[in-house]
Amino acid sequence: MNEDNHTPKIKVLDLDFYYGKVKALSAISMEMHEHEITALIGPSGCGKSTFLRCLNRMNDTIPGTKLDGQILIDDMDIYTTGLDPVDLRQKVGMVFQKPNPFPQSVYDNVAFGPRIMGLVRGHVDEEMRVEASLKQAALWDDVKDHLQDNALGLSLGEQQRLCIARALAVEPEIILMDEPTSALDPIATLEIENLMTRLKDDYTIVVVTHNMQQAARVSDMTGLFWLGELVEFNKTKQIFTRPEEERTEAYVTGRIG
């Protein structure tokens, strides 16, 4: 366990990323550890979401993109080792800005991933997986009597927790969150933040957020992106009390951005 804390779950080495000729990320190097929440902050267009999508090869689907450098997960290069991106995305789940449940039942939303991944061994196993995932996402008590209802009937906060349950159902090790609460009200936001702090016991979490107080509240480490560069990557407490870089100071105090 102790060793885990020292071995990074994700290791990024000198990463450059291009959309065509436009360099969107430049010389990014950072490490993310298990049982920690890493927050990525920075102004719109600074590259933080692009970076997040590099971590599970979501950018592969965009034509004309190019990536240099390395991303290692559990010491394995996710771009060169012949890893199937589908397998990678099972290991590295993602939650998006707007809740995007399938227009199906609550139950089927969660069962969908394990089914198509061939993880399910019979009915009972499937039900157990669905229940466990909904419990982990702190949604079980709210939906256990309405599992066959359409997921679109849930509140936005519940929909987002359902999307988290759906991501958890395929047993990922890393969860990427791209502004997971920006469409939610403060109460639903708080519920997601509580959930994140519980989930970090079992998962490595990387979250992109525009809400600096959110980064300050939930994360252990914070990275500030700026025009495609990682300006400062430091303990969250340090970033918000005595940052080392002037640009970080200016950003967290609202002087630029």
Binding site: M212, Q213, A216, I239, T241, R242, P243, T248, E249, T253
Partner: protein
């Protein structure tokens, strides 16, 4: 909302933040000048045996206390509504610490004035030499520390510490002189004690100023360092 609108809103919020905080800084300076006046008046009342002036110093301490709470309230509101971070946060926290020290300096000035009132018309034990020096030094140090606060100047703040050593040196000299007088002349013990209290109050003001200087260093650099240990 377009990006530009967002940016202009952000910069005007920033401007509002700066305005609010500079209001807090002004209030701290005002509090500082009230303390200066209180210290000077307390010492004048001692030199001129002016109990009416001493009474005024005691009464006006309530204004200093009220201003402290007003400033604390403004700092709390700023934290609650604007969530300052980094240097902004350190500055607000420093401001909240500084007003506590200023308020206590007011108590020390008022303590001197109360001693003057208690002395009534008993003649001074000896001519005052070092006590007015201590008072002058206290006022200069206070002014220097608040200037360092306004200028966010850690070097100027660090330069306060040696002056507090001067203060401690003067206090030590007064203490020894008065103890000697008391040993020689038991009839003078009460009047010597009055002067000792006065010197002690001034020495404490020096320590409070040093605290302010430490907060200025913290605010400017994020380092917590004890000056004048």
């Amino acid at each position: 909302m377009t990006l530009e609108e967002g940016a202009s809103m952000e910069s005007s919020l920033r401007a509002r933040y700066d305005r609010t905080f500079s209001g807090i800084v002004d209030a701290i300076l005002k509090m500082g000048s009230m303390i200066e006046e209180a210290v000077q008046n307390a010492i004048n009342s001692l030199q001129n045996r002016d109990t009416a002036l001493a009474q005024e110093v005691v009464e006006r301490d309530a204004e200093v206390n009220a201003l402290r709470f007003e400033i604390e309230e403004a700092c709390l509101a700023l934290i609650a509504t604007q969530q300052p971070a980094a240097g902004d946060l350190r500055a607000v926290i420093a401001a909240m610490n500084i007003v506590v020290d200023l308020e206590r300096m007011g108590d020390h000035a008022s303590g001197i004035a109360k001693t003057v009132i208690r002395m009534g018309d008993q003649p001074l034990l000896k001519p005052l030499i070092d006590i007015p020096r201590m008072a002058k030094l206290a006022v200069e140090m206070l002014r220097g520390s608040l200037k360092a606060f306004v200028d966010v100047d850690p070097e100027a703040a660090q330069a306060i510490a040696p002056r507090d050593e001067e203060m401690d040196f003067l206090y030590r000299a007064i203490f020894e002189e008065l103890v000697e007088i008391m040993a020689r002349n038991p009839q003078g013990v009460e009047r010597a004690t009055y002067l000792l209290w006065t010197a002690h109050n001034l020495e404490r003001i020096g320590d409070r100023v040093t605290n302010i200087a430490e907060r200025v260093v913290f605010m400017s650099t994020g380092d917590v360092e004890e000056l004048n240990v």
